[in-house]
């Protein structure tokens, strides 16, 4: 085999690079869910925790269009309970701190949604 050593070495490096993220991932410490400060007076969100965890972004997107574009501002959840559609006046009335709730996961996940460029966080603006 011509250049056998080079080919094998090349393949080894190639696979090492290919699997590096996964190898490093299992070697270093595991990802831990951040600890959120949950509302004191409310036990349940507008939908189940699971639903909110996976779908809050889609839900907020839909809420935005329903309220603003369709003029429909009352939301009925899967259990039949009604809520006023508003990020500032419904979500943030329970989640009274952006820093202790939203930012916790968003920072870990490296996402920076621009909701707060316009919406006023419950902490107020400084």
């Amino acid at each position: 085999m011509y250049n056998g050593f080079a080919i094998v070495a090349g393949l080894v490096i190639f696979f090492a690079m290919l699997t590096a993220p996964f190898a490093l991932g299992t070697m270093t410490k595991q990802y831990k869910e951040p600890e959120l400060k949950l509302p004191v007076n409310e036990k349940e969100c507008i939908e189940s925790t699971e639903y909110m965890r996976t779908n809050h972004m889609q839900l907020l997107n839909e809420w935005r269009d329903w309220a603003l574009r369709d003029g429909k501002r009352t939301y009925t959840n899967h259990a039949g309970k009604e809520f006023s559609i508003s990020l500032q006046n419904t979500c943030m009335k329970c989640h009274v701190s952006k820093a202790d709730f939203c930012d916790k996961c968003h920072n870990d996940a490296g996402v920076s949604p621009y909701c707060w460029d316009c919406h006023v966080q419950p902490e107020g603006l400084k």
Binding site: P21, L24, N55, Q58, G71, L125, K126
Partner: protein
């Protein structure tokens, strides 16, 4: 090494050369249930319209008071000069009704100043030219803005014959009194256009527009398509004009002269 999503992504970038990208799983949204309706307390109309009685409301001071109310509840920044942002303002007869000027106009009328705002035109050029549909017309006639979509191209400003729109040249929050914000209403961000929204957020809970409420009976608001409404009653009884009729936009704001 800190095990973060960021590190993983960086390394994954190297690995990507040898990987075919698997199709992303699309997250299911609302799950097919469309659980929304109009607020039970909302006011409804086929076509919202406003009538301003300029025999009662015609001083800069009185109009500025109303503007203050409007600008406060909507977090409109106060900026002097060319970068001004305004939802409600005042101007002279000649600037408000340039086509209806005549050299022998009653002096008293000519000296009045007039409250101006977006006319929520029936045939709004701003909606026609907006490439993103950030400016759109609701079925009840209100010309609304979706700031999430506005790309700041300012076509709508060029399209509006009434100067009803303002562009945010800088971060509007720099010119807001942050200690005195209305926390119930968002601010805007740099690079979007804004204007009066006929107080849709108040109509949605059954209230009248804030300027109408604060006007001591000098402004009327109601359904133009309902012959028994208050606006139709005053329009029937009083002589009214609208701004720049030749533009053909059919304003929904009427002025009693």
């Amino acid at each position: 090494m800190k095990n973060s999503r960021r590190t993983f992504i960086k390394l994954a970038g190297i690995a990507a050369a040898g990987l075919a990208v698997a199709p992303k799983k699309v997250l299911a949204s609302g799950g097919g249930h469309a659980p929304v309706k109009v607020n039970a307390t909302a006011s409804h109309a086929k076509h919202w319209a406003m009538v301003v009685d300029t025999t009662k409301l015609h001083t800069a001071e009185a109009i500025d008071e109303l503007a203050k109310v409007c600008h406060h509840i909507h977090n409109v920044p106060s900026i002097e000069g060319k970068k001004e942002v305004k939802w409600l303002w005042h101007d002279s007869y000649g600037h408000s009704f340039p086509e209806q000027e005549n050299p022998h106009l009653a002096e008293e009328v000519h000296e009045r100043v007039f409250p101006l705002l977006c006319n929520h035109c029936e045939n709004p050029p701003c909606v026609r030219v907006c490439p993103t549909k950030a400016t759109f017309q609701r079925p009840d006639g209100i010309v609304a803005m979706d700031y999430h979509r506005c790309i700041g191209c300012r076509y709508c400003m060029a399209g509006c014959p009434y100067g009803s729109r303002s562009f945010n040249w800088g971060d509007p929050r720099l010119n807001l009194d942050l200690a005195n914000l209305n926390p119930e209403f968002p601010t805007r961000m740099r690079g979007v256009v804004e204007k009066c929204n006929f107080c849709v957020e108040r109509l949605a809970v059954g209230k009248k527009p804030a300027c109408v409420e604060a006007s001591n009976g000098a402004m009327f608001f109601g359904d133009l398509k309902d012959p028994d409404s208050e606006v139709r009653k005053v329009l029937r009884e009083k002589f009214t004009i609208r701004r720049k009729p030749s533009a053909g936009t059919e304003p929904s704001v009427y002025y009693i002269i």
